[in-house]
Amino acid sequence: MKPPKFMYCDPDTVEDAVALKARYGHDSVVLAGGQSLMPLLNMRLANPDVVIDINRVTDLQRITRDGEVLQIGAGVRQSVLETEPLVADLVPLLGQVAPYIGHVENRHRGTVGGSLAHADSAAELPCAAVTLDATMVVQGPAGTRTIAAGDFFQGLMTSALDPDELVIAVRLPVTTRTAGTAFVEVARREGDFALAAAAAVVELAADGRFASLSVGVAGIAATPVRATAVEQALTGQPATAATIAAAAKEIAGQVTSADDMHATSAYRKHLAVTVVKRALGAAVATAQERSDGS
C-alpha cells in the first residue's frame, strides 16, 4: 500500500491551480482533504503523473453570502459546516448532513469541494447539493462556468467536470425561514457511506398542505437522485404521516443499485422508502415547529 511515483505541486492561488490542471488534465488529480484520494493512491487504484495539492489555496476556503445565495469555497473543511453560524442560519440542512460524513477526523481534513468532485452517490454532500438545487462553480482555462447539481453528477464517481477544470465553490440558495429540513441516513456503522439516505426540505402552506418540497436520496443509484415522483405525489397534499407513507413508496422505482455484500436490492428498496418517509416526517415536524415559533 505505497503509491506509485508522481510529481507533486502545491500552488498558492486558484489561477496557478487551474493552470496546472489545464496543463496536466487527465494525468493529474487534485489533492484537497485526501480522505478518498490517499487510499486510492496507496492501493494504486489511481496512478496519476501529477498530484496538485490545493491545501495552500486560501482563496478556496471562504464562506460568503451573496444576496440570497450562500457560497462555500471548495477548500472549506466539512467540519466547518457543523460549526459555522452562517451555514446554520442560511442553509440549515448542511449542518444536519455534515455529522454523517465519515468521522470527525475525516471531516477536519475532508473538503466540501473534494466530496462533490469525487461524486460518490452514497456520499452525503452530493445528496444535499441535489436536494438544495445547488450550483457548482468550476474554473478551467476558458474561465469559470456554473453547473447545476442535477447536471453535475453523471454516473458512478463521474461528474460533468472536465479534466482541465477545478471545482471552485458551491452556491446554495438560502433556505426560507419557514422551511423544515431533515436528513436521515442508514449505514452499517456510524461514519460509513450510506446504504440509503434522504434529505428533505419542505414548506407547508397555512392549511398544513405541502406548498413545496424537495427530497434527495443517496446510495440507491449511480448518482444521488431527486425523488421527483415522491415530490409530485405530495405537492398540494396534506402533510400527514399517511400521505407521506403512501408517497414514499414511489422512491422504490428509482433504486437501481445491484446487490452487494452490505445490502440486497430488495433491502435497499425498503430502506429507500423508509429513509424518505422518515426524512419527510422529520422535515414536516421542523417546519411545523418553525411556523409555530414565528
Binding site: P3, P4, R189, Y267
Partner: protein, 806 residues
C-alpha cells in the same frame, strides 16, 4: 438468591486493581514494534498476490521488474520448490503449503512472487511490473459441494477435498433423542471473521554471524516451534535464532503465524541481505495465517418436558479454505466444553473439514469453541422457547452443580471447579429483568418499538494441553504432550529484579503486568520496579507462548516456581549470615527476617551483595549469584485412550460467564442499538481486575463484530470481497456498548493462586446473547438468527417475509 461469598486467601498484589506496567512505553510510542526495527542495508519485500481463486501458474515474467532501479531480486514458487521444504503443518502431509505458491494458486491473495527492493515503494513498483500468466481451474467455494465426488480438487496429492472426517459419539445419542419429549433441530452457519490487530504480521530476517539466520518477528510460540521454521528453510535449528518482537495486537492472528517469518527468512537467505516483510492491510485481510472458523451445522437437541437437556447431535462441515495448517484443532477446542455448563451426557459430533479456494483458517479468540458455544446456546434458546421457559430458567435447571466438581464431561475433559448459579445470580442482580420485560411490552404496545432481551452463558476453557492437536488421529505423527512455560528471575547485585520470560508473550495482553504482580506477591517489591525481557530462541527455556487463555496461569506457575527457588537461596544466605536456622526465617516485604523478631533481618541489597561479591560469606558449596529458573508444566493433563472413547484431560481450567443484553431492533432498517449489557465472568482468582475487564470488553466487542458486522466474504466465483476496511466492518466505539462487568471468583484447585484463564470469554458469549436478543425483539415475526454475521438486510427481509405471509 445472592452469590455466596467465596473464601480465598488474601493477597497483597494479586487481585489489586492496578495500572498495567506495559502501558507507559506504549502510550509514548516506544513499543518497539517490528516496523520500528531498522538495520543497515535493510531490503523490503512486497508480494504479488493471486487475482485468481484457483489457477495453474503458467509463467511469471520478471524481466521488467528486475530492470527497475532498486529492485534487488524476484523470487517465485520455482525458487521455493528448489530451496525449501513445505511450511510447518499440523494437518495431513498431503496438503503441503509454501510461503509462495508452487505450481498453482488456490485462493485469491495467495503469494505468487516476492519482489525484494531497496524500499517498500520500489518493491511495490516491481510487483506492478511483474507479468504473471494463469490458466484458470474450476473454482471450489461451497464447502458442501467441495465434498461431492465431481468437485475439482485443490490438492491432487490428497485426492479429495475432504481434509479430514471423524465422528465421535459419547453416550448413546439415539436413545437420548428418542427418550426426549422434544427434539429441536436447526441449520446454522457461522461466517468467517478474524482478529484485526492494528499491527499486521511482520518479520525482519538477517543473515547473521557464524552463518546464523536471525528472524525478528512478532509471531508467537516460536520458543516452542522454531525448529519447524528451520526445517522449512532447510537449515539446522541451531543456525536459526528467532528474536521476539512485541506484537501490536493479535487476538489469534499471530498465533504461530509462520508464513511471514518463514518468507522473510527465505528472502534473506536467497539475497544474503537483511530483508523486512511486513504485511500491509490488504496482505493481512486476504492472506493472513488466521481467518477464523466458517462452519455449517445441522444440530439436534433433545429435551424433556421439564426442560432437561438429554443430548446434542452435531453434524458440522467446516470450510477450512485451501490449507489445514492446524489440523482440526479448532474442533478439539470445541470438545473441551462441548456440553457447556450443562449436565447432559449424550453427545455425537460428526466433523468434516472441507478444502475450498479460500484463505486458510487459523486462530481467532475462542479457537472454535466460541462457534460451538453459539450453536449450543442457539439450541438451548430454541428448546426454551418451544417449552415456554425463560432463558435463565432452562439454564439453571441444567447447570452442573457445585458438589459435582471436578466434573468429567462426555469426551473426557475435566471441569476443575465452578459455581454457575452464582454467576447467573450475580448477572441477574445487576440488571432488572422484570423492568425490562415490562418495558418491552409497553414500548411494543405504546410506541411500536421492538426491544429484545438476550441471556446466554459460556464455559471458558483455558490452559490447553497439546494433546488437543492430535487426539483426532488414531496414529498421530507427533503425539506431543508438553506445553510448558518458563521464567527466570534474577536479583542483581544491588537487589533489583530482572524477569526473563521464555516466549514472545506480548501480543496486546498483559504478560508483564501479570508476571511482575506475581514477583511482587512473592518478594514484596513493587511490580513496576521489575524489569521484564524476553529470551530469543537460542536462549529460551521451554515455553509454549500465549494462546487458549493459558498464559496468565502458566506464567504465574513459572514465576512462582522460580521465586520459590530464589527465596530459598536468599533465606539460606541470611540463615548463614545471621546464624539462625533457615526454618526460623521468612521473606516479608523484600527483607528476610526472623519469625517473631522482624528487627533481626537483612534486606535484598545486603543479601544480593553477599551473593555476588562476598563468596566467603556464603554457605559452603553455594554458587555465587542470584538467579533461578523454573519450567512449569501443564498442571493437569492425561493421555487420550487408544480407542478414543476418552479423549483425556486437555483443557481442565474452566471458567464461566453469563451475559445479558437489552437490544432494540428497528424492523424497517435492521439497525440495532443496545439499552444495556451486563457481563459476569468467573475466571478463578483475579490477578488484576483492570486487565481482566479489558479482556472481557475487548472479547465482547469482537464477539459483537462477528455477530453483526465482520465478514471475510468470498463471492460465488471465489473472489474476495472484503479486501479493505470499507467492507470488512470492525465495530468502533460507536457500535460497542459500555459493558457492565461483574466478577465471581471460584479458584481453580489445580493452578497457582487458583487463577483461571480469562482472555477469550467475552467473545465466547456475545454472539449467543446478541442473537437471542434479536430473536426476542422480533419474536412476533418468527425471527431466528441462523447465520452470522446477521446483517440489517437479513433482519428486514425476515420481517418483511413474515408480514407478506401473514
Amino acid at each position: 438468591m445472592a452469590a455466596p461469598d467465596i473464601e480465598k486467601p488474601r493477597y497483597k498484589y494479586i487481585g489489586a486493581d492496578r495500572k498495567r506496567v506495559e502501558d507507559p512505553r506504549l502510550l509514548v510510542g516506544r513499543g518497539g514494534f517490528i516496523a520500528d526495527l531498522k538495520m543497515q542495508g535493510l531490503l523490503h519485500a512486497a508480494i504479488l498476490r493471486s487475482p485468481a481463486p484457483h489457477a495453474r501458474i503458467v509463467s511469471i515474467d520478471t524481466s521488467e521488474a528486475l530492470q527497475i532501479p532498486g529492485v534487488v531480486a524476484v523470487l517465485t514458487g520455482e525458487d521455493v520448490k528448489a530451496h525449501m521444504n513445505p511450511c510447518m503443518n499440523f494437518g495431513p502431509p498431503t496438503i503441503a503449503q509454501y510461503p509462495i505458491a508452487v505450481d498453482k494458486v488456490r485462493y485469491v491473495g495467495e503469494a505468487v512472487a516476492a519482489v525484494v527492493a531497496e524500499s517498500r515503494y520500489t518493491a511495490e513498483d516491481g510487483v506492478e511490473a511483474l507479468v504473471a500468466e494463469f490458466e484458470d481451474l474450476p473454482v471450489v467455494t461451497d464447502p458442501r459441494k467441495a465434498l461431492e465426488p465431481e468437485s475439482a480438487l485443490l490438492h491432487d496429492d490428497h485426492g479429495s477435498n475432504l481434509g479430514y472426517e471423524r465422528t465421535f459419539e459419547f453416550g448413546d445419542i439415539s436413545r437420548a433423542l428418542s427418550d426426549a419429549d422434544l427434539v429441536v433441530e436447526d441449520t446454522l452457519h457461522w461466517g468467517r471473521s478474524a482478529g484485526m490487530p492494528m499491527e499486521t504480521s511482520g518479520a525482519t530476517a538477517r543473515p547473521g554471524l557464524n552463518g546464523v539466520l536471525e528472524i525478528h518477528c512478532n509471531s508467537l510460540n516460536f520458543s516452542y516451534l522454531q525448529f519447524l521454521v528451520a526445517n522449512a528453510l532447510k537449515i539446522p535449528s541451531n543456525k536459526l535464532t528467532m528474536q521476539p518482537v512485541p506484537a501490536g495486537g493479535s487476538f489469534g492472528s499471530k498465533f504461530t503465524a509462520h508464513k511471514v517469518p518463514t518468507l522473510a527468512g527465505f528472502l534473506a537467505l536467497r539475497t544474503g541481505r537483511p530483508v523486512s516483510y511486513v504485511e500491509d492491510r490488504l496482505d493481512h485481510l486476504m492472506n493472513s495465517d488466521h481467518h477464523g472458523s466458517d462452519r455449517y451445522y445441522e444440530a439436534k437437541m433433545g429435551v424433556t418436558a421439564d426442560g432437561m437437556i438429554t443430548g446434542l447431535d452435531i453434524d458440522v462441515v467446516d470450510d477450512y479454505g485451501a490449507y489445514l495448517q492446524f489440523g482440526v484443532g479448532t474442533h478439539g477446542n470445541a470438545f473441551s466444553q462441548a456440553v457447556g455448563p450443562y449436565t447432559f451426557r449424550d453427545l455425537k459430533y460428526r466433523l468434516r473439514a472441507a478444502l475450498t479456494n479460500k484463505c486458510q483458517q487459523g486462530a481467532y479468540r475462542g479457537f472454535g469453541s466460541e462457534v460451538h458455544n453459539w450453536v449450543l446456546e442457539r439450541m438451548v434458546d430454541k428448546a426454551a422457547a418451544e417449552l415456554g421457559l425463560e432463558p435463565e430458567e432452562i439454564r439453571r435447571r441444567n447447570f452442573i452443580q457445585q458438589d459435582q466438581f471436578p466434573y468429567k464431561i462426555p469426551g473426557g475433559n475435566i471441569y476443575d471447579s465452578g459455581n454457575y448459579p452464582a454467576v447467573l445470580d450475580k448477572a441477574l442482580g445487576m440488571i432488572d429483568l422484570e423492568y425490562w420485560r415490562t418495558e418491552q411490552q409497553r414500548l411494543r404496545e405504546q410506541e411500536g418499538r421492538y426491544i429484545g432481551i438476550g441471556l446466554a452463558t459460556t464455559q471458558e476453557r483455558s490452559v490447553f494441553s497439546s494433546t488437543e492437536f492430535w487426539f483426532w488421529f488414531d496414529e498421530p505423527a507427533f503425539p506431543i504432550t508438553s506445553s510448558p512455560e518458563s521464567a527466570t528471575i534474577t536479583i542483581d547485585p544491588t537487589g533489583q529484579f530482572q524477569l526473563q520470560l521464555h516466549c514472545q508473550s506480548m501480543w496486546g495482553n498483559s504478560p508483564e503486568t501479570v508476571s511482575t504482580t506475581v514477583v511482587a506477591e512473592e518478594f514484596g517489591v513493587e511490580p513496576e520496579s521489575v524489569n521484564v525481557s524476553y529470551a530469543d530462541t537460542a536462549h529460551a527455556l521451554p515455553g509454549t507462548g500465549p494462546g487458549g487463555s493459558r498464559y496468565t496461569v502458566m506464567v504465574a506457575g513459572a514465576v512462582r516456581g522460580a521465586g520459590r527457588k530464589l527465596k530459598k537461596k536468599l533465606i539460606d544466605i541470611a540463615a548463614h549470615t545471621l546464624e539462625v536456622a533457615a526454618e526460623d526465617l521468612e521473606l516479608v516485604d523484600a527483607r528476610v527476617q526472623v519469625k517473631g523478631a522482624p528487627e533481626k533481618s537483612l534486606g535484598l541489597p545486603e543479601l544480593a551483595a553477599s551473593a555476588y561479591f562476598f563468596a566467603l560469606n556464603l554457605p559452603p558449596s553455594m554458587e555465587s549469584g542470584l538467579e533461578e529458573s523454573y519450567t512449569y508444566d501443564h498442571p493437569y493433563t492425561t493421555l487420550p485412550s487408544p480407542d478414543r472413547t476418552d479423549l483425556g484431560v486437555f483443557y481442565p481450567i474452566v471458567g464461566h460467564a453469563c451475559h445479558i443484553a437489552v437490544l432494540e431492533v428497528d424492523p424497517d432498517t435492521g439497525q440495532t442499538a443496545f439499552h444495556d449489557y451486563v457481563a459476569v465472568h468467573d475466571a478463578g482468582t483475579v490477578v488484576n481486575p483492570k486487565s481482566l475487564d479489558g479482556h472481557v470488553t475487548g472479547g465482547a466487542a469482537q464477539g459483537l463484530g462477528s455477530t453483526l458486522y465482520e465478514e471475510l466474504a468470498y463471492d460465488a466465483d471465489g473472489q474476495f470481497t472484503s479486501s479493505t476496511f470499507m467492507d470488512y466492518l470492525v465495530p468502533t466505539a460507536n457500535e460497542v456498548p459500555p459493558f457492565r462487568i461483574g466478577h465471581v471468583e471460584t479458584p481453580s484447585p489445580y493452578t497457582e493462586y487458583g487463577i483461571k484463564g480469562g482472555g477469550e470469554g467475552g467473545r465466547l458469549v456475545t454472539p449467543s446473547v446478541v442473537s437471542a436478543a434479536i430473536d426476542d425483539a422480533l419474536r412476533e415475526y418468527g425471527m431466528r438468527v441462523r447465520e452470522l454475521p446477521v446483517k440489517p438486510a437479513d433482519i428486514v427481509e425476515a420481517v418483511q417475509g413474515a408480514m407478506a405471509r401473514s
